[in-house]
Symmetry: C2
Subunit: 235 residues, 2 copies
């Protein structure tokens, strides 16, 4: 946790918060904080700054807050991701938040196992929890928007062209395609497939909506690694 | 597992192998393979190709092997990594192997907790196990060399300059440094610090040995994410 994130409900005054949950435990056990210590904080959806610990007890901590810095810029990106397996989903959500992706769409694909859609990790509170871990890691306060699209065809036919309009549309896909471009200018819409990749029909439909296939070399990367590698190359 | 890796001990003839371990289970449960099926294989340290399943029983499988393709090229890189915490170490070893890093040096740093050096995940068999998972993921056969250097100062003073000679030497470090270069030509020696970063003394010693600090932006990434992002940008 490189940034302590504050929820609206933590505020007991304009510049005072009281913490009682895992963040209190973290202060006590990881930071080994003491009264008077100062640490980096951010308000979810708002600014970042410093907190000074006024009072640190076994059951709660009271902090004085000064928020005066904007969070870091987000990437100019909409990321479409074929729904990963549940364990990978949690890590990918953290990665996406920590890398500064502002919009994530979790999409169905032929090679997404149906059971993946049943995972409790897709519940809004679970998604938010993982995103917050990513923001705490990279020092950001703004939660990415996450949309869930369980039907590939209607989404790609009826909505994707509009999302993609005015952006550079790309699909990460192994094969005889151009290399993923580097250091692009302007906004991007990027789609990354499931383990095993998109099927040809899906690549075709994504291309019709404006997303051109690009590849990252012959090595097959795990979804989390592919997301990071493509973003690091694009931006 | 995108490539079934074969050990020398699996071979019962020039082009025949017998499998009995987790790879047999994988064939049965994940691939749901049957006699006659064909799949991608590689010989550790050697070539890649196809196997045909001659016989698939509960306790063993016999395969006919044709090896005729070279493994993918490695990156022209020596990667120095401050020893990550044990759980992260395992994932980083997989990532390093899957991205094609040929040489990894696990190094001490002031911010590496002493207890990390006690982990059983540093035993050669444990390291090899994780590297193999990475090779299986990305379809490669050649194990990265992994060196362990528990003493920062003697290693950096006595050995690093020689390792770094003739390469572009870089240290990933947050701060007012040039951005990490993109699409470099020629070999690189790259050092990545622990959680919390190198201390200034370490950055100075690494610079004396020929490694110049570069940064990846203001976001603080987990070690595994930083490794992937830096490699994707450099190569």
């Amino acid at each position: 946790m490189n940034l302590l994130l504050l929820e609206d409900a933590d505020f007991v005054g304009a510049d005072r918060v009281v913490l009682r949950d895992r963040r209190l435990t973290h202060l006590q056990q990881v930071h080994r904080a003491e009264s008077g210590d100062s640490l980096r904080v951010g308000r979810i959806g708002g600014q970042m700054g410093k907190a000074q610990i006024l009072r640190l007890e076994a059951s709660e901590a009271e902090l004085h807050i000064t928020l005066d810095q904007p969070p870091p810029a987000k990437l100019p990106l909409t990321l479409l991701l074929a729904l990963p397996r549940p364990k990978m989903l949690r890590r990918v959500l953290q990665t996406v938040a920590s890398m500064g992706v502002p919009r994530l769409i979790l999409l169905n694909s032929y090679r997404v196992e149906k059971s993946f859609w049943q995972t409790p990790f897709l519940e809004p509170a679970a998604i938010r929890g993982q995103l917050i871990l990513g923001l705490e890691q990279s020092r950001d306060t703004v939660l990415p928007e996450v949309r869930i699209e369980k039907r590939f065809k209607p989404f790609v036919e009826d909505q994707l062209a509009q999302i993609c309009a005015g952006t550079q549309g790309l699909v990460g896909h192994p094969g005889q395609y151009p290399s993923c471009p580097r250091a692009v200018e302007g906004p991007v819409t990027l789609a990354i497939g499931p383990e095993g990749g998109w099927i040809p029909y899906e690549v075709e439909k994504l291309a019709e909506a404006g997303l051109q296939p690009v590849q990252l070399g012959e090595r097959i990367l795990r979804v989390e690694t592919a997301v990071t590698a493509l973003l690091a190359r694009l931006f």
